[in-house]
Amino acid sequence: MVGLKKSEFISFSDLDEVVYLLKNISEFDLTGYSKSSLKRRIERFLSMEKMDLVDLKSAILNIDGFENYFIQELMVNVTEMFRDPQFFRQLKAKTFPYLQTYPQLRIWSAGCATGEEAYSLAILLKENNLLNRSFIYGTDVSLKALDFARKGVYPLAKIKSYTDNFNKAGLASEFSSHYTAMYDAAIINNEYRNKILFSTHNLVSDHVFNEFQLILCRNVMIYFDKELQEHVLQLFYESLALFGFLCLGSKESLYGHAIKDRFKVIDSNLNIYQKVK
Protein backbone atom coordinates (compact mmCIF):
# COMPACT_ATOMS: atom_id res chain seq x y z
CA MET A 1 0.00 0.00 0.00
CA VAL A 2 1.34 3.43 -0.84
CA GLY A 3 1.35 6.21 1.73
CA LEU A 4 -1.86 8.10 2.25
CA LYS A 5 -2.12 11.86 2.13
CA LYS A 6 -4.06 13.48 4.92
CA SER A 7 -7.11 13.75 2.69
CA GLU A 8 -6.97 10.02 1.99
CA PHE A 9 -7.45 8.96 5.57
CA ILE A 10 -11.12 8.62 6.31
CA SER A 11 -12.48 10.12 9.52
CA PHE A 12 -13.91 8.20 12.44
CA SER A 13 -17.36 9.57 11.65
CA ASP A 14 -17.03 8.32 8.05
CA LEU A 15 -16.18 4.96 9.55
CA ASP A 16 -19.28 5.02 11.75
CA GLU A 17 -21.39 5.81 8.73
CA VAL A 18 -20.04 2.87 6.71
CA VAL A 19 -20.57 0.53 9.68
CA TYR A 20 -24.12 1.82 10.07
CA LEU A 21 -24.95 1.32 6.39
CA LEU A 22 -23.58 -2.22 6.40
CA LYS A 23 -25.53 -3.07 9.50
CA ASN A 24 -28.75 -1.87 7.94
CA ILE A 25 -28.51 -3.75 4.70
CA SER A 26 -26.75 -6.97 5.75
CA GLU A 27 -26.21 -9.32 8.67
CA PHE A 28 -22.76 -7.84 9.30
CA ASP A 29 -22.52 -5.69 12.39
CA LEU A 30 -19.03 -4.25 12.77
CA THR A 31 -20.06 -1.83 15.54
CA GLY A 32 -17.93 -3.58 18.14
CA TYR A 33 -14.76 -3.83 16.05
CA SER A 34 -11.63 -1.94 17.00
CA LYS A 35 -12.04 1.42 15.26
CA SER A 36 -8.49 2.14 14.21
CA SER A 37 -7.81 -1.26 12.64
CA LEU A 38 -11.12 -1.31 10.84
CA LYS A 39 -10.59 2.22 9.54
CA ARG A 40 -7.18 1.26 8.23
CA ARG A 41 -8.65 -1.80 6.47
CA ILE A 42 -11.28 0.37 4.80
CA GLU A 43 -8.63 2.85 3.65
CA ARG A 44 -6.65 -0.06 2.24
CA PHE A 45 -9.76 -1.35 0.46
CA LEU A 46 -10.49 2.07 -1.06
CA SER A 47 -6.97 2.47 -2.34
CA MET A 48 -6.86 -1.06 -3.79
CA GLU A 49 -10.20 -0.64 -5.51
CA LYS A 50 -9.49 2.97 -6.48
CA MET A 51 -12.76 4.03 -4.90
CA ASP A 52 -13.67 6.95 -2.68
CA LEU A 53 -16.15 7.03 0.19
CA VAL A 54 -19.03 8.08 -2.02
CA ASP A 55 -18.37 5.14 -4.38
CA LEU A 56 -18.16 2.83 -1.39
CA LYS A 57 -21.44 3.89 0.14
CA SER A 58 -23.20 3.65 -3.17
CA ALA A 59 -21.72 0.19 -3.80
CA ILE A 60 -22.91 -1.01 -0.40
CA LEU A 61 -26.42 0.23 -1.15
CA ASN A 62 -26.72 -0.68 -4.80
CA ILE A 63 -24.52 -3.62 -5.78
CA ASP A 64 -25.97 -7.01 -4.97
CA GLY A 65 -23.59 -9.13 -2.90
CA PHE A 66 -21.00 -6.35 -2.59
CA GLU A 67 -21.14 -6.50 1.18
CA ASN A 68 -19.86 -10.09 1.21
CA TYR A 69 -16.86 -9.18 -0.87
CA PHE A 70 -16.23 -6.03 1.14
CA ILE A 71 -16.39 -7.81 4.52
CA GLN A 72 -13.93 -10.46 3.37
CA GLU A 73 -11.47 -7.82 2.29
CA LEU A 74 -11.75 -6.08 5.66
CA MET A 75 -10.96 -9.21 7.65
CA VAL A 76 -7.35 -9.94 8.53
CA ASN A 77 -6.76 -13.60 7.65
CA VAL A 78 -3.03 -13.70 8.31
CA THR A 79 -2.11 -16.92 10.12
CA GLU A 80 0.53 -19.67 10.32
CA MET A 81 0.91 -23.35 11.05
CA PHE A 82 1.96 -23.77 14.69
CA ARG A 83 1.80 -20.02 15.28
CA ASP A 84 3.47 -19.40 18.65
CA PRO A 85 5.13 -22.83 18.89
CA GLN A 86 5.41 -22.53 22.66
CA PHE A 87 1.65 -22.44 22.86
CA PHE A 88 1.36 -25.86 21.21
CA ARG A 89 3.99 -27.27 23.56
CA GLN A 90 2.09 -26.08 26.61
CA LEU A 91 -1.28 -27.05 25.17
CA LYS A 92 -0.01 -30.59 24.96
CA ALA A 93 1.70 -30.57 28.35
CA LYS A 94 -1.08 -28.92 30.30
CA THR A 95 -4.36 -29.94 28.69
CA PHE A 96 -3.80 -33.29 26.96
CA PRO A 97 -3.39 -35.31 30.19
CA TYR A 98 -6.87 -34.16 31.11
CA LEU A 99 -8.40 -34.34 27.62
CA GLN A 100 -7.19 -37.93 27.37
CA THR A 101 -9.80 -38.95 29.92
CA TYR A 102 -12.65 -38.15 27.51
CA PRO A 103 -13.85 -40.88 25.12
CA GLN A 104 -14.74 -38.19 22.57
CA LEU A 105 -13.32 -34.74 22.00
CA ARG A 106 -15.03 -31.84 20.29
CA ILE A 107 -12.73 -28.95 19.51
CA TRP A 108 -13.50 -25.49 18.11
CA SER A 109 -11.03 -23.28 16.27
CA ALA A 110 -13.00 -20.01 16.23
CA GLY A 111 -11.78 -17.48 13.68
CA CYS A 112 -9.74 -20.17 11.95
CA ALA A 113 -8.98 -18.06 8.84
CA THR A 114 -7.31 -20.27 6.21
CA GLY A 115 -7.22 -23.30 8.51
CA GLU A 116 -3.60 -23.54 9.62
CA GLU A 117 -4.51 -23.51 13.31
CA ALA A 118 -7.03 -26.36 12.90
CA TYR A 119 -4.54 -28.48 10.93
CA SER A 120 -1.81 -27.81 13.49
CA LEU A 121 -4.13 -29.04 16.21
CA ALA A 122 -5.03 -32.14 14.22
CA ILE A 123 -1.35 -32.98 13.78
CA LEU A 124 -0.67 -32.46 17.49
CA LEU A 125 -3.64 -34.67 18.42
CA LYS A 126 -2.53 -37.36 16.00
CA GLU A 127 0.92 -37.47 17.48
CA ASN A 128 -0.58 -37.98 20.92
CA ASN A 129 -2.97 -40.70 19.80
CA LEU A 130 -5.99 -38.47 20.32
CA LEU A 131 -6.99 -37.74 16.75
CA ASN A 132 -9.19 -40.81 16.26
CA ARG A 133 -11.47 -39.71 19.09
CA SER A 134 -11.48 -36.02 18.09
CA PHE A 135 -13.49 -33.83 15.79
CA ILE A 136 -12.49 -30.24 15.03
CA TYR A 137 -14.81 -27.44 13.93
CA GLY A 138 -13.09 -24.56 12.15
CA THR A 139 -15.29 -21.48 11.82
CA ASP A 140 -14.90 -18.01 10.38
CA VAL A 141 -16.93 -15.23 8.76
CA SER A 142 -14.79 -15.14 5.64
CA LEU A 143 -16.13 -17.54 2.97
CA LYS A 144 -12.99 -17.03 0.97
CA ALA A 145 -10.75 -18.06 3.87
CA LEU A 146 -12.94 -21.08 4.60
CA ASP A 147 -12.76 -22.26 0.98
CA PHE A 148 -9.00 -22.08 1.23
CA ALA A 149 -9.04 -23.94 4.54
CA ARG A 150 -11.16 -26.80 3.17
CA LYS A 151 -8.66 -27.44 0.39
CA GLY A 152 -5.79 -27.77 2.84
CA VAL A 153 -3.29 -26.76 0.17
CA TYR A 154 -0.59 -24.28 1.14
CA PRO A 155 2.09 -22.65 -0.98
CA LEU A 156 5.45 -24.37 -0.60
CA ALA A 157 6.98 -20.93 -0.11
CA LYS A 158 5.37 -20.81 3.32
CA ILE A 159 6.39 -24.30 4.34
CA LYS A 160 9.85 -23.28 5.42
CA SER A 161 8.63 -20.95 8.13
CA TYR A 162 5.90 -23.43 9.07
CA THR A 163 8.59 -26.08 9.46
CA ASP A 164 10.58 -23.75 11.74
CA ASN A 165 7.49 -23.32 13.90
CA PHE A 166 6.81 -27.04 13.86
CA ASN A 167 10.35 -27.84 14.97
CA LYS A 168 10.00 -25.46 17.93
CA ALA A 169 6.69 -26.98 18.99
CA GLY A 170 8.38 -30.10 20.32
CA LEU A 171 6.81 -32.80 18.17
CA ALA A 172 8.62 -36.06 17.49
CA SER A 173 7.73 -36.46 13.80
CA GLU A 174 8.99 -34.62 10.74
CA PHE A 175 6.68 -31.88 9.49
CA SER A 176 7.11 -33.21 5.96
CA SER A 177 5.38 -36.46 6.96
CA HIS A 178 2.09 -34.59 7.35
CA TYR A 179 1.75 -33.27 3.81
CA THR A 180 2.51 -34.21 0.22
CA ALA A 181 4.52 -31.75 -1.84
CA MET A 182 3.28 -31.24 -5.39
CA TYR A 183 4.80 -28.67 -7.72
CA ASP A 184 4.75 -25.51 -5.63
CA ALA A 185 2.15 -26.62 -3.11
CA ALA A 186 1.90 -28.73 0.03
CA ILE A 187 -1.27 -30.78 0.39
CA ILE A 188 -2.17 -31.65 3.97
CA ASN A 189 -2.74 -35.39 4.46
CA ASN A 190 -6.30 -36.59 4.03
CA GLU A 191 -6.59 -38.06 7.51
CA TYR A 192 -6.45 -34.52 8.91
CA ARG A 193 -8.89 -33.03 6.45
CA ASN A 194 -11.41 -35.77 7.32
CA LYS A 195 -11.31 -34.74 10.96
CA ILE A 196 -12.14 -31.07 10.45
CA LEU A 197 -15.37 -29.40 9.40
CA PHE A 198 -14.94 -25.85 8.16
CA SER A 199 -18.08 -23.73 8.22
CA THR A 200 -19.30 -20.17 8.67
CA HIS A 201 -20.06 -18.88 12.11
CA ASN A 202 -20.20 -15.23 13.07
CA LEU A 203 -19.04 -14.66 16.63
CA VAL A 204 -20.99 -11.41 16.75
CA SER A 205 -24.39 -12.71 15.75
CA ASP A 206 -24.44 -16.54 15.79
CA HIS A 207 -25.11 -18.72 18.81
CA VAL A 208 -23.84 -21.78 20.63
CA PHE A 209 -23.82 -24.72 18.20
CA ASN A 210 -22.20 -27.54 20.17
CA GLU A 211 -20.45 -28.38 23.42
CA PHE A 212 -16.67 -28.43 23.36
CA GLN A 213 -13.82 -29.70 25.50
CA LEU A 214 -11.38 -27.28 23.90
CA ILE A 215 -11.87 -23.90 22.22
CA LEU A 216 -9.11 -21.92 20.53
CA CYS A 217 -9.80 -18.30 19.63
CA ARG A 218 -6.48 -16.66 18.98
CA ASN A 219 -5.84 -13.29 17.38
CA VAL A 220 -9.51 -12.74 16.65
CA MET A 221 -10.71 -10.79 19.66
CA ILE A 222 -7.87 -8.28 19.29
CA TYR A 223 -10.10 -6.82 16.56
CA PHE A 224 -13.02 -6.40 18.98
CA ASP A 225 -13.64 -3.72 21.60
CA LYS A 226 -14.06 -4.69 25.27
CA GLU A 227 -17.82 -4.88 25.07
CA LEU A 228 -17.87 -7.22 22.11
CA GLN A 229 -15.11 -9.28 23.74
CA GLU A 230 -17.39 -9.66 26.75
CA HIS A 231 -20.16 -10.96 24.51
CA VAL A 232 -17.92 -13.43 22.70
CA LEU A 233 -16.38 -14.70 25.94
CA GLN A 234 -19.87 -15.41 27.23
CA LEU A 235 -20.54 -17.41 24.05
CA PHE A 236 -17.37 -19.44 24.64
CA TYR A 237 -18.26 -19.98 28.27
CA GLU A 238 -21.65 -21.38 27.27
CA SER A 239 -20.08 -23.52 24.56
CA LEU A 240 -17.56 -25.16 26.89
CA ALA A 241 -18.11 -28.35 28.85
CA LEU A 242 -17.32 -28.02 32.54
CA PHE A 243 -13.51 -28.33 32.90
CA GLY A 244 -13.12 -27.60 29.19
CA PHE A 245 -10.27 -25.32 28.06
CA LEU A 246 -10.27 -21.89 26.41
CA CYS A 247 -7.13 -20.64 24.67
CA LEU A 248 -6.56 -17.05 23.59
CA GLY A 249 -3.80 -15.43 21.52
CA SER A 250 -0.41 -14.53 22.94
CA LYS A 251 -1.32 -10.87 23.61
CA GLU A 252 -4.86 -11.45 24.87
CA SER A 253 -6.11 -12.46 28.30
CA LEU A 254 -9.21 -12.86 30.47
CA TYR A 255 -7.73 -10.31 32.84
CA GLY A 256 -10.13 -7.38 33.18
CA HIS A 257 -13.17 -9.44 32.19
CA ALA A 258 -15.78 -10.39 34.81
CA ILE A 259 -15.99 -13.90 33.39
CA LYS A 260 -12.45 -14.61 34.56
CA ASP A 261 -13.85 -15.76 37.92
CA ARG A 262 -15.37 -18.77 36.23
CA PHE A 263 -12.03 -19.90 34.84
CA LYS A 264 -8.83 -21.23 36.32
CA VAL A 265 -5.61 -19.90 34.83
CA ILE A 266 -3.68 -22.84 33.42
CA ASP A 267 -0.92 -20.83 31.74
CA SER A 268 -0.81 -17.08 32.23
CA ASN A 269 1.82 -16.45 29.56
CA LEU A 270 0.20 -18.46 26.82
CA ASN A 271 -3.34 -17.66 27.94
CA ILE A 272 -4.76 -21.11 28.54
CA TYR A 273 -7.82 -21.18 30.83
CA GLN A 274 -10.08 -23.89 32.20
CA LYS A 275 -13.78 -23.47 32.90
CA VAL A 276 -14.22 -24.46 36.54
CA LYS A 277 -17.74 -23.29 37.33
Partner: protein, 192 residues
Amino acid sequence: MKGKKDNIVLIGGSAGSLLLITEILENLPARLDYALCIIIHRSSTFSSEIEKSLSIKLNRPVIAITDKTPIKNGIIYFAPPGYHILIDPPGTFALDSSEHVNYAKPSIDVLFESCAQIYGQYCTAFLLSGANADGARGLKAIEEFGGKTFIQNPSDALIETMPISGIQESRLSTILKNQDIIRYFSDNLQLS
Protein backbone atom coordinates in the same frame (compact mmCIF):
# COMPACT_ATOMS: atom_id res chain seq x y z
CA MET B 1 -9.26 14.53 19.62
CA LYS B 2 -6.93 14.72 22.56
CA GLY B 3 -6.52 17.66 24.91
CA LYS B 4 -3.42 19.30 26.28
CA LYS B 5 -3.07 16.89 29.16
CA ASP B 6 -2.65 13.89 26.90
CA ASN B 7 0.69 14.20 25.20
CA ILE B 8 2.27 11.20 23.61
CA VAL B 9 5.85 10.79 22.46
CA LEU B 10 6.82 8.03 20.03
CA ILE B 11 10.29 6.72 19.32
CA GLY B 12 10.70 4.55 16.24
CA GLY B 13 13.92 2.73 15.49
CA SER B 14 15.38 -0.33 13.91
CA ALA B 15 18.85 -1.78 13.50
CA GLY B 16 21.34 0.24 15.52
CA SER B 17 18.83 2.20 17.59
CA LEU B 18 18.64 0.24 20.83
CA LEU B 19 21.75 1.75 22.40
CA LEU B 20 20.50 5.31 21.98
CA ILE B 21 17.04 4.34 23.21
CA THR B 22 18.56 2.83 26.35
CA GLU B 23 20.53 6.01 26.92
CA ILE B 24 17.42 8.14 26.48
CA LEU B 25 15.56 6.04 29.02
CA GLU B 26 18.40 6.08 31.53
CA ASN B 27 18.37 9.85 31.46
CA LEU B 28 14.62 10.38 31.74
CA PRO B 29 13.39 12.54 34.62
CA ALA B 30 11.45 10.71 37.33
CA ARG B 31 8.18 12.35 36.30
CA LEU B 32 6.88 12.29 32.76
CA ASP B 33 3.88 14.37 31.72
CA TYR B 34 3.35 12.25 28.66
CA ALA B 35 3.06 8.64 27.60
CA LEU B 36 6.21 7.33 25.93
CA CYS B 37 5.86 4.60 23.34
CA ILE B 38 8.85 2.87 21.81
CA ILE B 39 8.57 0.85 18.65
CA ILE B 40 11.54 -1.07 17.31
CA HIS B 41 11.88 -3.86 14.82
CA ARG B 42 12.87 -7.05 16.60
CA SER B 43 12.26 -10.74 16.09
CA SER B 44 9.53 -12.62 17.95
CA THR B 45 12.04 -14.96 19.54
CA PHE B 46 13.53 -11.99 21.37
CA SER B 47 10.19 -11.84 23.18
CA SER B 48 9.72 -9.72 26.27
CA GLU B 49 13.31 -9.66 27.43
CA ILE B 50 13.88 -5.97 26.71
CA GLU B 51 10.94 -4.74 28.78
CA LYS B 52 11.81 -6.88 31.77
CA SER B 53 15.47 -6.02 31.94
CA LEU B 54 14.84 -2.32 31.31
CA SER B 55 12.21 -2.18 33.99
CA ILE B 56 14.67 -3.57 36.53
CA LYS B 57 17.52 -1.41 35.31
CA LEU B 58 15.47 1.81 35.31
CA ASN B 59 13.48 0.92 38.39
CA ARG B 60 10.22 2.09 36.81
CA PRO B 61 7.41 0.34 34.97
CA VAL B 62 8.18 -0.55 31.35
CA ILE B 63 5.13 -2.11 29.82
CA ALA B 64 4.92 -4.47 26.84
CA ILE B 65 1.74 -3.49 25.04
CA THR B 66 -0.96 -6.16 24.92
CA ASP B 67 -4.55 -6.14 23.68
CA LYS B 68 -6.31 -2.86 24.67
CA THR B 69 -3.57 -1.57 26.98
CA PRO B 70 -4.78 1.85 28.19
CA ILE B 71 -2.44 4.78 27.48
CA LYS B 72 -1.38 6.67 30.59
CA ASN B 73 0.91 9.62 31.21
CA GLY B 74 4.23 8.79 32.83
CA ILE B 75 4.42 5.24 31.52
CA ILE B 76 6.94 3.76 29.09
CA TYR B 77 5.45 1.34 26.57
CA PHE B 78 7.11 -1.04 24.13
CA ALA B 79 5.45 -2.42 21.01
CA PRO B 80 5.59 -6.24 21.04
CA PRO B 81 7.08 -8.12 18.07
CA GLY B 82 4.72 -9.73 15.58
CA TYR B 83 1.83 -7.24 15.73
CA HIS B 84 1.10 -3.81 14.34
CA ILE B 85 0.13 -1.25 16.96
CA LEU B 86 -2.63 1.28 16.43
CA ILE B 87 -4.46 3.63 18.75
CA ASP B 88 -8.19 3.40 19.35
CA PRO B 89 -10.04 6.51 20.46
CA PRO B 90 -10.15 7.79 23.13
CA GLY B 91 -6.76 6.30 24.12
CA THR B 92 -6.01 2.58 24.13
CA PHE B 93 -3.51 0.61 22.12
CA ALA B 94 -4.98 -1.85 19.63
CA LEU B 95 -3.09 -4.78 18.11
CA ASP B 96 -3.40 -5.97 14.55
CA SER B 97 -1.77 -9.02 12.98
CA SER B 98 -2.25 -8.02 9.34
CA GLU B 99 0.40 -8.16 6.61
CA HIS B 100 3.88 -6.72 7.15
CA VAL B 101 4.36 -3.09 6.10
CA ASN B 102 7.83 -2.15 4.82
CA TYR B 103 8.82 -5.75 5.64
CA ALA B 104 8.12 -4.93 9.26
CA LYS B 105 5.63 -5.94 11.94
CA PRO B 106 5.30 -3.83 14.00
CA SER B 107 5.56 -1.12 11.37
CA ILE B 108 6.54 2.34 12.56
CA ASP B 109 4.41 3.89 9.80
CA VAL B 110 1.28 2.12 11.03
CA LEU B 111 1.68 3.38 14.60
CA PHE B 112 2.74 6.90 13.61
CA GLU B 113 -0.16 7.32 11.15
CA SER B 114 -2.71 6.07 13.63
CA CYS B 115 -1.34 8.19 16.45
CA ALA B 116 -1.25 11.30 14.26
CA GLN B 117 -4.98 11.05 13.68
CA ILE B 118 -5.89 10.64 17.33
CA TYR B 119 -3.39 12.95 19.02
CA GLY B 120 -2.90 15.66 16.37
CA GLN B 121 -0.68 18.42 17.77
CA TYR B 122 -0.18 16.47 21.00
CA CYS B 123 1.86 13.83 19.21
CA THR B 124 5.66 14.09 19.05
CA ALA B 125 7.77 11.51 17.22
CA PHE B 126 11.43 10.60 16.85
CA LEU B 127 12.83 8.48 14.04
CA LEU B 128 16.20 6.84 14.69
CA SER B 129 18.76 4.54 13.06
CA GLY B 130 17.59 1.69 10.84
CA ALA B 131 18.17 -0.18 7.62
CA ASN B 132 14.86 0.42 5.86
CA ALA B 133 12.40 3.18 5.02
CA ASP B 134 9.79 2.42 7.67
CA GLY B 135 8.65 5.48 9.64
CA ALA B 136 9.13 8.10 6.92
CA ARG B 137 5.49 8.16 5.83
CA GLY B 138 4.43 8.12 9.45
CA LEU B 139 6.48 11.25 10.19
CA LYS B 140 4.77 12.97 7.29
CA ALA B 141 1.33 12.08 8.65
CA ILE B 142 2.24 13.40 12.09
CA GLU B 143 3.34 16.68 10.51
CA GLU B 144 0.15 16.93 8.50
CA PHE B 145 -1.96 16.48 11.61
CA GLY B 146 0.00 19.17 13.45
CA GLY B 147 2.41 17.12 15.56
CA LYS B 148 6.17 17.57 16.04
CA THR B 149 8.77 15.40 14.40
CA PHE B 150 12.46 14.81 15.02
CA ILE B 151 15.01 12.74 13.17
CA GLN B 152 18.37 11.44 14.38
CA ASN B 153 21.18 13.09 12.49
CA PRO B 154 22.19 10.49 9.88
CA SER B 155 25.85 11.06 10.67
CA ASP B 156 25.17 10.00 14.26
CA ALA B 157 23.07 6.98 13.25
CA LEU B 158 24.70 3.55 13.16
CA ILE B 159 22.63 2.87 10.03
CA GLU B 160 21.52 5.97 8.20
CA THR B 161 18.89 4.58 5.79
CA MET B 162 15.94 5.23 8.04
CA PRO B 163 16.85 8.78 9.08
CA ILE B 164 17.66 9.69 5.48
CA SER B 165 14.34 8.43 4.14
CA GLY B 166 12.63 10.26 6.99
CA ILE B 167 14.33 13.49 5.96
CA GLN B 168 13.34 12.98 2.34
CA GLU B 169 9.70 12.36 3.13
CA SER B 170 9.03 14.91 5.85
CA ARG B 171 9.76 18.59 5.35
CA LEU B 172 9.41 20.02 8.82
CA SER B 173 11.37 17.56 10.93
CA THR B 174 14.10 18.85 13.20
CA ILE B 175 17.34 16.94 12.84
CA LEU B 176 19.12 16.31 16.12
CA LYS B 177 22.49 14.96 17.20
CA ASN B 178 22.42 12.12 19.72
CA GLN B 179 23.24 14.27 22.74
CA ASP B 180 20.49 16.72 21.80
CA ILE B 181 17.98 13.90 21.58
CA ILE B 182 18.99 12.68 25.03
CA ARG B 183 18.83 16.25 26.38
CA TYR B 184 15.38 16.75 24.85
CA PHE B 185 14.13 13.98 27.07
CA SER B 186 16.23 14.58 30.18
CA ASP B 187 15.34 18.28 30.30
CA ASN B 188 11.68 17.76 29.40
CA LEU B 189 11.96 20.16 26.49
CA GLN B 190 8.82 21.84 25.18
CA LEU B 191 6.22 19.16 24.71
CA SER B 192 3.40 21.27 23.23
